[in-house]
Structure formats: C-alpha cells, structure tokens
C-alpha cells in the first residue's frame, strides 16, 4: 500500500502467511503491537499475506507517506524495538537488515523480486487479505462487475481464450476451451470447482495465493461461474491449510455483505454461491474425478474418463474445474484484456507462471516469471543460485508427477511444450533444486515412496506396480541392486504409465524414468560398484574426518547418537567406522566442512 490512508507517517506491514508464522511472525506481531502502544510511534500496523520471500521470513515492509518502502527480512521480536526506534522514530534505514528498497529495487536481495513479473501474485504481500476494502481499493471486483453488467458469458470466454492461459493445475489445458465445453454442455444445473488441494511436496503457491489474496480467487470464480453458467461453486481446500481456510471464510462472508456473492450480484439477476469443502489431505483428491467423489461424500477415488467432468461431473452435472492460480489470473485478464496477457510468454504458453523454489537453492520462495524464462534465469537470477556455493545438479519439476532435469537442460525455456520435451512437466510449478550432495536414485525413491503412500489403491498398476518399483529402488539404495533391475524398472514404469487409471499412477514413474534418462550412471554406480557418489545413501557410504581442516571443535561429538567420534580438544577428531550408523548428523553440524561422506 503506497498510501496508508490513516494520516500516519509510516505504515508497518508484517508478512503474516503460514510461512511467516512458522518462522516466528506471531512473536514479531505481538512485539510490534506492544512497542507501538508503548512508544507512541506515528505508525499504522497491518498484516499481509506471503510476499514469497520464504528464505528470509519473517518479513516486515515499512511504507512512508510518499509511497516509498523498505522491506526488512529475518525480523525477530528482539529486533522490533530497534527497528521501530531507528526507522520509524529517527527515519534511519537499518541497512544490514534490508531485503529490498523501493528506491533501488535490485540492491540487496531485491533482485529476487525485481526479476519477477507478478500477475497472479500481484496483491500477495501487498494487501491485508482479511480486508475486502483493501482489495476493492486497488480495483478489486471491478472486473467481475464489468463482466456481469456489460459482457455476455461468451465474451468472457472469448477474452479468456484470447489470453491463451492454460490450466495452471498441471495438465496445461487451455482454460478458454475448457470453459467453452462447460458452457455448451446441456443442462440447467452446472457446477464450478476451484481445486485448492495442493499436495505436491515442495509446492505452496496455491496456499500463498489463498492466504495472501483470497478475493482474486473468488473474483475469478464469479467470472467463471458467470461464463459457464454455474450458480454454485466449490473450493476444495485441504484441511492442512487452516489459515487459507480461515481467510477464505472471511472473504466469502465479506462478499456476501457487499452483495458480490448470493442472489442478484452486482445488481444483476445473476446469482452465485461458493462453498468451501475441506479435504482430508489425500493427494489423489487433487485428481478431478477423485475430488468430485470426495465432495459427494464418497471415498476420494478416481473414475475413468471419459465421460469428462464437462458433461458428467459433480453429481452427474456439467462441471468445470480450475486451479487456484488459474482463477487468480482471471480478474487481471478481464480487467487488462486477454491480448495484454497474451503478450507475455511464448507462442504456445502465454502469461506468467508461479514457481515454488525449494530444495538446495539459495533463495527459496515464490517466483512468478513470464513463460519463456529459462530454468537458469529462474534458479540463478531469481533464486540466487545454489545454497552454500555448491554445484547445481538437477531440478525436479512438477512434483512427484514430474521429472528431473540436469545441468545441460538449464537453458530450456519454461514453457509447457519445451519442458515436456525435456522429460519433465511444468505441473503445478514446484521446483526442487538438487546439488551435488543429492543422490538421484534416492531422490527418485523419495518421490515414489510419496506416490505409493498416496495411491488410492484402486487400480492394480498404481497400487502394486509402484510398490514393486519402490522396492527395487530401496534395494538399489541399500546396495542390493541386481544388474537386471534397471531394465525391470524401465519396463514396469512403461506398463504403469500405460495402464494406470488416473494421472497419479500414470505419472508416478516419471521421476524414475527421467533420473534413469539423465543419471543412469548413478544407478549403475549403486548396482555394480556399491557406491553412492553423492555421499547420500547410508548403506553405501563411509564417513571420515579430514584431519587437515578439522579444528577439533567437537560440534560433531555432541550430535553423534552412537558416540562414534572421538578426539582431543582442538585436535583433529576421528570417526569409528564400526560404531558409525551414517546418520550424517555430524555432517550437517560441522562448521569447517571437514566431514567427508564417500
């Protein structure tokens, strides 16, 4: 907010999403409130959703009356008195704590944000998500009002088609076309569902949008409901997102009060209702047919398609399902025009995409970039490269359904077709970065253990097939792999892909197939040489201490659960290989990086 509106000299905004809260934002909030009360500062306090700077939470942004702002990171309750005293009291910026300044957006860590283009996240971290007034103040619900009062449903669909936006949930189906199917599908009663059952490990963009800007999702749904002719919308959100659910409830209530939801909205004769359905945390319920079964009160298990939801969806009625991110982009498209959206991106992939940077990248968080950026730009320019100065090894894109791309693919453009051609998928936009300490066999094993746990158990290939693949990978990681295992994995993976009922099973083998494609030597190393070059698989490594660099600080001794490390103070220590269980606790604690896993 450039203008705090209350006549105060400063406005202090605290990032108050789940990530901020997890990092200690509640203590910061309490400290801010107490200090402001105590110190009678000329200041207005507010909260906002996640700005996407996960690597440096809790984040506080201080606005002045001229519209300038400074973002501070890593703020603790202890730092609050000094922050207020220096910045608000004396008008002096504490340079050491600054993440970004509006006057020099690329300085400090500011390039994390400066290298992004934010459409979906346009309001995240900028407005109070629990206040409809703040959303309206920046032009919220204008697009919905415009569409409902001056456009036909077909015109709305045309605008969305013009934008070229493709479904951001993973499959990348053109949204305008999907809406067109649902619109044309015969039937009086139609349903609209917002898929907020985000479940990929390492993906958190939907949560951030719902926590930071729930109204843009609701506005997108109002527009979609109007376009396809649905008067009832559902938001299927997992119960593990309590803050998102709370803010959605507040937003829906506020919309009813304003007359944006309910009967005769925006003074027209159109009515639209939204209900929130809590999911019980089953990954498979992100699959649309399983999600509909769950909304209907059945066990969340997918059904074969066809028939597709556009004709036989929720309760057998025509239904349209889009992801949170897709809905959040719709108001922008209607307000700014589809053509403007289509100017962003590549020929076949328009607009922007939010990626969740996670893993061994230096700056973890939300990165929204235009389609067509290269992976290198996202990981290095936005993400700041690999943490602790290590070497980039691979990036797992699209969560457990996606694939692992190696360094030679870093110049691949982020675009549905190019990423697919490289062997991965854009999916929901998770990017888990691996460095040279990550074992690719173990990474594939991890993702498969996830999909195996989350398989609904309905179809044979997914239920037993992924289990048998997982067992082979576990064997390989334990050094018990057999020469024929690689071929066995490949054949079984192919059959599982062909025969599975839904996309969960159909894509579950992807992490294995791509790691086999790009890192086959690591598999062979495990099987034939019983070696894990990344020093990751406990059964295949030994740990030793480099006597040259060891300072004898004994940090490792304190964490070793089996007392396997001995040595005199300030003298190089040694590890007893017999007693060592290779838990690698010492490795993570050693300040001089003297512990070598090989």
């Amino acid at each position: 907010m450039s203008d705090n509106g209350n006549g105060h000299r400063y406005k202090v905004v605290l990032g108050y999403g789940t990530c901020g809260i997890a990092a200690g934002a509640t203590a910061v909030k309490d400290a801010l409130e107490e200090e402001v009360k105590k110190g009678s500062y000329d200041v207005d306090l507010d909260i906002a959703g996640c700005m996407g700077l996960c690597f440096i939470e809790p984040v506080v942004e201080i606005f002045d009356r001229q519209g300038g702002s400074v973002v501070y990171g890593d703020i603790t309750a202890k730092k609050v008195p000094q922050l207020l005293e220096e910045h608000v009291g004396k008008g002096q910026v504490i340079e050491d704590w600054v993440v970004k300044k509006s006057e020099d957006p690329e300085a400090c860590e500011g390039d994390f944000l400066a290298n992004q283009l934010r459409v979906v996240l346009r309001n995240c971290g900028k407005i109070n998500p629990e206040s409809i007034e703040e959303y309206i103040q920046i032009g919220g619900y204008e697009a919905a009002k415009k569409a409902l009062t001056s456009m036909t449903p077909e015109e709305v669909i045309d605008e969305v088609s013009t934008s070229g936006i493709r479904g951001r949930g993973g499959a990348g189906f053109p949204t305008g076309t999907k809406w067109g199917f649902a619109r044309k599908s015969p039937g009086e009663e139609k349903y609209l569902i917002c898929n907020a059952d985000e479940g990929d490990p390492g993906a958190f963009m939907d949560r951030s949008v719902l926590e930071g800007d729930p109204h843009s999702v609701l506005e997108g749904m109002i527009l979609a409901g109007f376009a396809i002719g649905a008067r009832q919308g559902y938001i299927y959100c997992r119960a593990e997102y309590p803050l998102a659910l709370k803010r959605l409830d507040i937003a829906i209530e506020e919309c009813h009060q304003k007359g944006f939801l309910g009967e005769g909205i925006f003074g027209t004769d159109w009515s639209f209702e939204v209900k929130v359905k809590k999911g019980a945390g089953a990954f498979v319920c992100g699959e649309e047919t399983a999600m509909m079964a769950s909304i209907e009160g059945q066990r969340g298990m997918p059904n074969p398609r066809p028939p597709f939801p556009a004709t036989h969806g929720l309760w057998g009625k025509p239904t349209n399902i889009n992801n949170v991110e897709t809905f959040a982009a719709i108001p922008w498209i209607i307000a700014e025009g589809g053509e403007k959206y289509a100017e962003i991106g590549t020929e076949k992939s328009k607009g922007t995409k939010v990626f969740c940077l996670a893993g061994k990248v230096r700056r973890t968080g939300l990165a929204e970039v235009p389609m067509g950026y290269t992976l290198r730009q996202v990981i290095f320019d936005v993400g700041g490269g690999i943490a602790e100065g290590r070497e980039f090894k691979a990036v797992q894109m699209g969560g457990p359904s996606g694939g692992c791309l190696p360094a030679e693919k870093l110049d691949t453009q982020v675009d549905y077709d190019q990423i697919t051609a490289a062997g991965a998928i854009i999916g929901s936009g998770g990017m888990i970065v691996a460095d040279n300490r990550t074992c690719m066999v173990d990474l594939a094993r991890y993702f498969l253990s996830f999909t195996q746990d989350e398989s609904c158990g309905k179809c044979t290939p997914c239920r037993i097939g992924t289990k048998r693949m997982l067992e082979i990978l576990e064997r390989i990681c334990e050094g018990k792999g057999e020469p024929e295992d690689i071929e066995k994995l490949q054949v079984l993976a192919g059959d599982i892909k062909d025969a599975s009922l839904c996309a969960l099973g159909g894509t579950a083998p992807n992490p294995v197939l791509t790691t086999l494609r790009y890192f086959k030597d690591e598999y062979e190393d495990h099987i034939f040489n019983h070696k894990c070059a990344a020093g990751s698989c406990p059964a295949l490594i030994t740990l030793r201490i480099d006597p040259e660099t060891c300072t004898g600080c004994a940090a490792c001794v304190k964490v070793c659960p089996t007392d396997a490390i001995t040595g005199e103070k300030k003298e190089p220590h040694v590890i007893d290989a017999e007693a060592c269980i290779r838990c690698k606790m010492c490795l993570s604690r050693c300040p001089s990086e003297s512990i070598i896993a090989e």
Partner: protein, 375 residues
C-alpha cells in the same frame, strides 16, 4: 444402433453399449477381474484395457462406451504384455496356495494366471499378512487373497443397498473393510452372501459350506476339475462320487430366483445362483443361499401329528384330514364361514396357493385368505 470394428470384425450394437458388451455379444473374449454384469462398471483392474484408434490412452472396455465408427483392438503385443504384467503384479501379492483353496477351479485370478503362464511372479517384495476374519457363522474373509476389485463393496451398496464395506487405508495398504474394522454382525450386514457370490478369488468365502465336513471332498473335486479342465458333474462321475448340480427355483418367496444346488453323496454342499438368469439375475438372499438345512434335517416332519391329550402323536394322512374336515365343518356351522381364516405359504407353488384360496372361498365361503409372501 452403432457400428464398430473389433479386431477387424464389423459389429453392430445399441447406442450406449460398452466396448465389453459388444465384444461379449460377438464372441470376443476380453479378460476382466473387476467386472460383474450385475454391477456398475468400475475400471480398476485394468485387464480389459483395449486400444481404440485415435484415443489418447488405452481405454477400459468395461467402462468406455463405444462410439459409432470406433475401431478397436482387444489384443496385440502391447496389450498382452500389460495384461501379463498386471497378472504378475497381482500374483506377487497373492498366496499361490491354490491346492488348499476351495475357490480353486472357479478362481478368476487362477484362470488368468493360467492363461498368461504366470506361476510365480517376477516381482518379489512385501506380501500382505492379514488376520483371517472368521467372526460370524456365514462369511469368512481372507484379505491376503483380495485383489481389490471392489466387487464386494459395489454389490453390497448397489444391489443390496446396504454398504457394509468400503476401502480403508491407501496405497499398497488399501484393503476392503467394515467401519472401524467391526465384526460383520455389528454392521448392518444381512449375511446375504452376495459378496461371496461376486468375489473373484478366495478372499470372501461361505462358512456354512466350509463347516459341513465335506469341504475337503469339494476342494479336491474342484482342484481336479481345474487341473483336468472338466465340468464338476463329469468329474464327480469320473471319481465315482454320487453328485450332481440341480437347477431349480428358490422356494422361499415369490421372486423366483434360480438356484444351482450342488449335491454330493445326497447332501447339499453349496447353493449358487446362475448369473443373469431368471428374475434374480444371480442374486440371492440369506435364505436362498444358506437356508437349506431343513432338507436333510432329522426334525423335518414326514407324517401328520394329531394332538391327543395335550401331546402330539403321529397319525395317518386319512385320519388327519378327516379330523381337519370335521373341525372346519363344525366351526363353520357353529359360528360362520368368516370365523375361519386361511393362511398359506409362499413356499408352496402357485398352483397350490390357487387351490388354497379356491378352497377358502368356494368350500368354506370366506375371503379371509392371506399368505406369508413377506419373507
């Protein structure tokens, strides 16, 4: 009507038919496990996957509706490889102790394993070790043999309208179960045994047959049938067993469900119902399936009884009928015809019931006629 081509054969079928319907009608065999004609299609076992020209993925024949002009392949190298993999995967988590399983010979998994030459799986790994559920006298569940086809769940919900079962857990640990794993007698289960009738493997079995002491003979018989691929009756003859299967109509109520009564040594050992035949379409209730004890019960009345001095005594038919006639005539004369009511039984034939009402109306002169069609 629509026209499709299956494996090069031109077929015609009514609109709305599934690919499997059309294949079956045209004598083309597509393997299935989760399919039962009594139930809605499910598409889970994936054995019936077929290739449809122009389709993005393989389609389950049991679920996919055929469109006019579809060109379908039900068998080729890829499909057969997938089917073999699927059977191998199922076998990798199945106790292959067919010799000791009373389902042997009628087990659908056994038949497919046989067809694809799978004796033991190329995939080894964790195998389930569930406890046997034998907590009630009718249904025994052995989930080590379950292949997760969901047929028990669907038949209970769709045909019986009860819903005792659903899946519990996820992934490899997913298994059918009752709510909170309660014993079946604490659920709304009516013990109709429909789940037994649809289970393709030995996961759900009927305990009454098992407890008959003849299960060993029957097991041996069926194993031999499976091994020599001979029908049950022929095998019985070959083994010198006196046994047969009789197709009859259930006598419990007026529905007219068809029964196959399996008899060995003049004792009923099992009752099944032929699929999609007669009004029951292969469905039976608890009485039709399990209520046959009376046939060879020693307590069964074979002679009329007359109460003499407060005690029942055996009598001849003439004496008994004379007594009834006398008492009815007396009552009719002393009071009136309407003081008499006639109560008949659904277990009697239509002809007998007709005669009973005729007797009531024409001989006694009352309309007080009822019968116990409410079993």
């Amino acid at each position: 009507m629509i026209k499709v081509e299956i494996d090069g054969k031109a077929c015609e079928a009514p609109q709305g038919s599934t690919i499997l319907d059309i294949a079956k009608a045209n004598g083309i065999d597509i393997p299935t496990l989760c399919y039962d004609p009594r139930l809605s299609p499910y598409g889970a076992c994936r054995l019936c996957l077929v290739e449809v020209e122009g389709a993005r993925a393989l389609l389950p024949a049991c679920y996919a509706k055929a469109d006019d002009g579809m060109v379908i392949q039900t068998t080729n190298e890829k499909l057969e490889r997938i089917r073999k993999t699927l059977v191998e995967l199922l076998v990798s988590d199945h106790p292959m102790e067919c010799q000791g399983c009373s389902k042997s010979g009628r087990c659908e998994l056994q038949r497919l394993a046989d067809k694809y030459g799978v004796t033991e799986s190329t995939f080894t790994g964790e195998v389930h070790e569930y406890d046997l559920h034998r907590e009630n006298p009718f249904v025994m569940r052995d989930y080590n043999k379950c292949i997760m086809c969901g047929r028990c769940i669907r038949i209970c919900r769709e045909v019986q309208g009860i819903g005792v079962y659903d899946f519990i857990n996820r992934g490899f640990k997913a298994v059918p179960g009752t709510p909170y794993d309660k014993p079946m007698q604490e659920t709304p289960c009516e013990f109709c045994g429909q789940c037994i009738s649809t289970c393709p493997t030995g996961a759900i079995k009927a305990r009454p047959y098992e407890d008959r002491g003849r299960v060993a003979a029957l097991d041996m018989l069926r194993n031999a049938c499976a091994y020599f691929k001979m029908p049950e009756e022929d095998m019985m003859k070959a083994l010198g067993l006196e046994g047969w299967v009789t197709r009859t109509t259930c006598a419990y109520c007026g529905c007219g469900c068809q029964l196959d009564i399996h008899v060995i040594d003049n004792k009923i050992v099992e009752i099944t119902s032929p699929l999609m035949v007669g009004s029951g379409q292969g469905n039976l209730c608890v009485k039709g399936r399990f209520g046959y004890d009376f046939v060879s019960s020693s307590e069964r009345l074979t002679k009329p009884l007359i109460r003499k001095k407060g005690k029942f005594e055996e009598a001849e038919w003439d004496e008994a009928l004379d007594l009834v006639a006398k008492k009815l005539s007396e009552t009719k004369k002393k009071s009136c015809p309407d003081s008499i009511g006639v109560f008949s039984s659904a277990r009697a034939t239509n002809e007998d019931n007709y005669l009973v009402q005729k007797f009531a109306r024409a001989v006694i002169g009352t309309n007080n006629v009822d019968h116990c069609a409410r079993l």
